[in-house]
Symmetry: none
Subunit: 214 residues, 2 copies
């Protein structure tokens, strides 16, 4: 609630409400600063980040006047809309570490239409790809991927796989072949690798890839 906000942030929020009421577009960082007596645009940016983190507003990065206030409606609103999935966003997937289990900060989520998914929408989580090491899965730096917590997948399904040796995460189609696992890149011009079964940890099945082009 507002009472929990530091004074400066309360003043920023109040100013935003008043400004939007009368202007119908948001103020710039400098207008906010002039209104509350702060000259530093980076400090205003810091306050807006704080307000965003606490759920009072949403910023649009690198855009003039890029913010919207969040109006506090009933938190049941989303639950009343069963056609939307709210999928926990846990951070980044990189080659050099296992996939995150808990979110790095706060309660971030990705909202997607249920219609984009199959029948099973349990245990989903979202990660952003960092680096080019997933390129053999035809997955690029910056893509968002949706996975389901699963420790085993069906033959031919793509999974995020942690290899104890050499200590890396990879995205590949998994085939169990006796005591070995064949890891097949999605890129057909690349060959598979074979790994002892006990060296492989499936960390989640990839169910969706979202590529932004801008």
């Amino acid at each position: 609630m507002n009472a929990e906000l530091p004074t400066r942030q309360q003043r920023v929020r109040s100013f935003l409400e008043e400004y939007l009421e009368s202007n119908e577009y948001p103020p710039t960082l400098r207008e906010i600063g002039r209104a509350i007596g702060v000259k530093s645009t980076s400090l205003i940016s810091y306050y807006l980040d704080q307000l965003e983190e606490r759920g009072y507003l949403v910023r649009q990065r690198s855009v003039s006047r890029g913010l919207r206030l969040v109006r506090r409606d009933s938190p049941r609103e989303l639950k009343a809309r069963p056609e939307i999935l709210s999928i926990p966003y846990l951070g980044h997937i990189v080659a050099s570490a296992p996939v995150p289990i808990e979110p790095l900060s706060g309660d971030e989520s990705v909202e997607l239409s249920r219609a984009l998914f199959g029948a099973n929408t349990a245990n989903l989580f979202a990660l952003t790809v960092k680096g080019d090491s997933m390129i053999d899965a035809l997955i690029h730096d910056g893509d968002t991927i949706i996975l389901r917590h699963q420790e085993r997948v069906e033959n031919g399904e793509m999974a995020a796989v942690w290899l104890d040796e050499p200590g890396e995460t990879t995205l590949k189609k998994v085939y169990y072949e006796g005591r070995q696992v064949r890891l097949q890149p999605a890129n057909p011009s690349m060959g598979p690798i074979y790994v002892p079964e006990d060296n492989v940890r499936v960390q989640g099945k990839v169910v969706m890839v979202i590529r932004q082009l801008e």
Copy 2:
């Protein structure tokens, strides 16, 4: 009434309404120009002056995004969850027809987190890919793509392009080279095609690809 406005001004007004609906702050002159295919910021300013003179909006001089629509109907209830975009779903994209302009049935939409997008979230629509003819764009049958209504793109951006000759839709990166347009597949193992400029119709810029893997 809208019917009295010249075409360009009508398009500006429509764009403003849509933009404000989804962003809650007004566009810049350049954003308006990009949306309606006009490069000249002075012409956009001229159109806004015309719309102001006719009572459709009020401008704030020398201010970034300085305009408010004059609302003639009852004020719309702002969406409770600005962080979710509801994007009209218009059906399928196939090689043998132009992309659909109206939905095939009802008011279907795709809900996606705004955080998955860049600053410009106006004029978006969703299509599902039918058939394998977009594979040279590394886009598969069944993928969902999100496009923005644009009649022109920047060099290197991927667009849904209708070719009058031979009468097909393709997804390619577009480069304007003199009187010709180079259409470059995303698949690096494939070569470009060159088409006369007047044979090409950009039907929308591809801003996202969503691949379901199950």
